[in-house]
Symmetry: C2
Subunit: 360 residues, 2 copies
DNA sequence: ATTAGCACTCGAAAGGAAAGAGTGCCAACA
DNA sequence: TGTTGGCACTCTTTCCTTTCGAGTGCTAAT
């Protein structure tokens, strides 16, 4: 266990370091933190915090800098769960309200918003599982052309224009429309078997292979709907961070991010919605992120739609503020994407912060 | 007029400078360019090229660097119109073939591809004008719900799920579907007048305001289809350029770009498809681009669909290679987006390079 | 246990010298 | 008249040394 005073000092070091990006010395802490003792005392404590592994010195005669372990301690126990002022919260919600259209647009809008709010690169991801088709329609345009319209279990609608090299009878299209609407609705992608397709083809008396075209579209739509959509915004904001003044370093990370780099540890699924996850420096799996930090909020929009929204930055990050903002964004997404209409606002979900507490 | 030898020397300076990013001296040129004269002669010529304004010296005892005017001369007259090898051309076409889905996806895929090929940030933009509705369908789902499906003049299909707070008779929906299909097809957005909406409402005997909902969607679709779509990729590639080693400078430009900064001079419209436009340094209108260059290829995909694809980089840019690659991309887009099916490959459009020849 | 004091360390900043690339110009030359 | 070798000159880049100062660690006093 670590003494109360050490905690206060550690917190003070981190706060100051986050603010200034410079190693912080004993004097600065003595004058700032409200603990009534001199810089010499602080020096002793600091030395111990170094040997405990929470802080380190760039070199013998410099101030102290938090280690990842120090940040971890800070995030887990020390940091005051920041609550944004009411205005800030309302501002975020207002800005989110303006931006609600199609899911795919929403996801990129929200990542852009997250980046704007935090001034770090932001990244949003949505996954849907167990999507089924709710309704199937085929609109006959002309003998070679028809439009397939599919309504999915999450009430999104997809369509496709199909042009065939051969002429098709309108009656056949009608029969197929009916058959698909009864046979292909309510089932998941795996249930679309060749067997099912074959029997549909026979039932429709389809000799021209139209059935398989439509079935292919059904599979495509289901697959696509279940393919995670991701969006990254504001990579350039990395450049305003002093730790990325080295263009090579910045380039490496930005390249990784815009290449769709995976942020989440693969084993950790996005279950617990409403939680905030913090990954500090070496806790990240990706080599490119080993000296950066990631803060992620997950949300659950119902209909098997889940997602995360997160930001990436240097380990010297204002975890508290970022977590608070992401939390509001995630809660907003859960509400809005979920029920279609927004429940009463103003309630944030509570800020449960969780991280990789494992060995380090 | 400028002597033949000066042209050769200027071209040599630019080639070398583009390659190395270092001021180039008389000796390097003497040994490289195949004109049989000594470095002293070259020095004299260089001095004249400086006073003519094509070159400049960073400081008295340094080599020469091209001015924007020098680049302009190079692009207009000196540069050999580079033809890519057959393999390269085929490679690009192949990679383009893999990426053809929805228009919105295509546009971002192609900008990504352009960025990969040139190693500069790339930007693509598509505009459509005079879009009309070709076909109008309304699918009745239940008493409160229906799906509007609209097929546009460029054969894209849009849909929307509408939920009403009131119950609607299926007959009314059918009547509206027919009315819209006759009254709202083949007309542009401006032709959708309140008058037309009103008369449709009366003709359908609609007392529940459904007509206006559908009309609103029609307007929305037409507006959206005519809103230019833009996409930027590979901003981070800027960081590999020596002239953007200064993070602040890089940040400024990247911020401008990802903020959807306008690249084209507003007065110049995207008419002449197949042309390549080069804007060098101060020829750009945007303050943020005054010391960068932009190369743009335009394409015409028929159906009033036009667009551009371009890259942004330092004025020290391999204009020739970039122009050649963009040209192939633009030609590919014209072919593919246009007719729906690709005409014979292997023909590039010719490389007409045009730029701001005005005062400078 | 805390604190004042002080010698010590080490990086960052400032100054200066040397190196080197490249020019400009002059005088010789074809 | 255009070209060339030669050479002094200029200016940046690099490297070394010195100085400066922030911050420490330790000791002795409280």
């Amino acid at each position: 266990m670590i003494s109360e005073r050490k905690k206060k000092i550690l917190a003070a070091v981190i706060d100051e370091y986050v603010r200034t990006a410079e190693p912080v010395g004993s004097k600065a802490i003595a004058s700032k933190a409200g603990l009534g003792c001199s810089s010499a005392t602080i020096r002793n404590e600091l030395a111990e915090l170094v040997s405990l592994g929470y802080l380190e010195q760039p070199h013998t005669s410099a101030g102290r800098v938090p280690t990842p372990m120090g940040y971890r301690m800070y995030v887990n126990e020390l940091m005051e769960k920041q609550r944004l002022s009411l205005e800030e919260t309302e501002d975020i919600n207002r800005r989110m309200n303006q931006k609600l259209r199609e899911l795919d647009d929403t996801i990129s809008d929200v990542s852009r918003l997250a980046s704007q709010l935090t001034d770090y690169p932001a990244l949003a991801l949505t996954t849907r599982t167990a999507v089924t088709i709710k309704r199937f329609d085929i609109i006959y345009v002309d003998a070679n052309t028809f439009i397939i319209v599919v309504m999915l279990s999450d009430n999104t609608v997809k369509n496709k224009l199909v042009k065939l090299p051969v002429s098709v009878d309108q009656k056949l299209v009608q029969r197929l429309s009916a058959l698909f609407n009864s046979g292909f609705t309510g089932i998941t992608e795996e249930a679309v078997t060749p067997l099912l397709i074959n029997s549909t083809e026979r039932a429709a008396d389809d000799t021209m292979g139209v059935t398989s075209v439509i079935a292919a579209f059904a599979i495509e739509v289901l697959t696509e709907a279940q393919t995670p959509t991701a969006s990254i915004s504001g990579e350039n904001r990395l450049l305003s961070q002093p730790e990325f003044r080295d263009p090579d370093k910045a380039h490496r990370l930005m390249g990784y991010l815009s290449g769709g780099g995976y942020i989440l540890p693969p084993n950790e699924s996005m279950d617990a919605a409403g939680e905030i996850k913090v990954l500090i420096g070496p806790e990240n799996v990706a080599e490119e992120l080993k000296d950066s930090s990631v803060v992620i909020a997950t949300y659950d929009a119902g209909d098997n739609t889940k997602g995360m929204i997160g930001v990436v930055g240097p380990t010297r990050m204002d975890y508290s503020a970022v977590a608070a903002k992401l939390s509001i964004l995630a809660a907003g997404l859960s509400r809005r994407l979920g029920s279609g209409e927004a429940p009463p606002e103003g309630m944030h979900n509570k800020l449960i912060i969780k991280g990789d507490t494992g060995n380090e």
